[in-house]
Amino acid sequence: MITTKLEDAANWGRKFSLFSYPFVTACCGMEFMSVAAPKYDIARFGAEFPRFSPRQSDLLMIVGTITEKQGPALKRVYDQMTEPKWVLAFGVCASTGGFYQNYHAMPGADQVIPVDVYVPGCPPRPEQVLDALILLQQRIQRGDGHSQLRLKREKIVMKQREAEE
């Protein structure tokens, strides 16, 4: 009971202090700048601080097309981030591959890493990104982001192992 409440409090803190890592690969980057700039101002939701090292961030924003050649780099960036971590696919290319259906484009970043929120649009309106951020905050509070669920599963498995021993 006490751990659940503690987790709730921690999640409340996490959802309002997301440190984002913008993995910007394409034209959606312009719209990301618009979201980050004062007019739409993602800072109002506590996610204003882009970190340029994945080791200091817990929100990976995949902004733009991911090519097959970039796959290993994207996976490595995700693996380096601190737990718990969340992923936002910004635009159709990051979500599904968009209008690319050929030899070089990956059909969505979720082929390589788990994605929590998908934002459609080519590029998405800044309002859509803010809406996605609010959805992600709700998800963080509920504790059912991909990495949060995985951490919970790992804890259960560890307890089972301890009990067996």
């Binding site: 097959e68 050649k69 050929n102 030899y103 070089h104 082929q111 390589v112 890493i113 788990p114 995985r150």
Partner: protein
């Protein structure tokens, strides 16, 4: 515009210039592969030509190419499996005389080999690597002929018309989806 360049080439090299075309202010010379380096050196070093700038190098895959409209005498026939399949293009520009010329070399599918022009114009280095990456044209004498955009594990040449247009060759995929959810 550069008709005088074509005339100079024909006067100097004769049979090595297989065909010339002039269209919309662009002059093209189809040259024999064996004479390419000699012709290119002449274009660069002759003071009356002075083609000092490499503009681009690319290739054209003719495997599905069909003539459009009435077939004129001397026009190129459709690809029949025996005739040269690829057309390698070099575009040069003279910044002194403000004119440009295009060299074309036909190569076969069995032996897609052309002499590299990188020793003459270092600017063709990455252009030739891209042409090799996308079409599989081998440039003999290139200092570093590796893939430039794609990864070493990639099999085939994606801009050839017979590459399946939706075929992907993934380097990495998720492993956490199997038996974990």
């Amino acid at each position: 515009m550069a008709q005088s360049v074509l005339d100079a080439l024909k006067a100097k090299f004769g049979d090595a210039i297989e065909r010339t075309e002039s269209s919309h202010g662009d002059e093209t010379a189809v040259v024999k592969a064996a004479k390419l380096v000699e012709i290119a050196t002449f274009l660069r070093d002759d003071p009356k030509l002075a083609f000092d700038a490499p503009v681009f190098c690319t290739a054209i895959d003719l495997v599905h190419w069909q003539p459009v409209g009435p077939v004129l005498p001397g026009a190129r026939p459709a690809y029949d499996g025996v005739s040269p399949r690829f057309e390698v293009c070099y575009q040069l520009r003279s910044t002194t005389f403000k004119r440009r010329i295009r060299l074309k070399i036909f190569v076969t599918e069995a032996k897609p080999t052309v002499a590299s022009l990188t020793p003459l114009w270092p600017g063709f280095n990455w252009q030739e690597r891209e042409t090799f990456d996308m079409y599989g044209i081998r440039f003999e004498g290139h200092p570093d002929l590796r893939r430039i955009y794609l990864y070493e594990e990639f099999i085939g040449y994606p801009l050839r018309k017979d590459y399946p247009k939706e075929k992907r060759q993934p380097l990495v995929r998720r492993t956490d989806l199997v038996g974990d959810h």
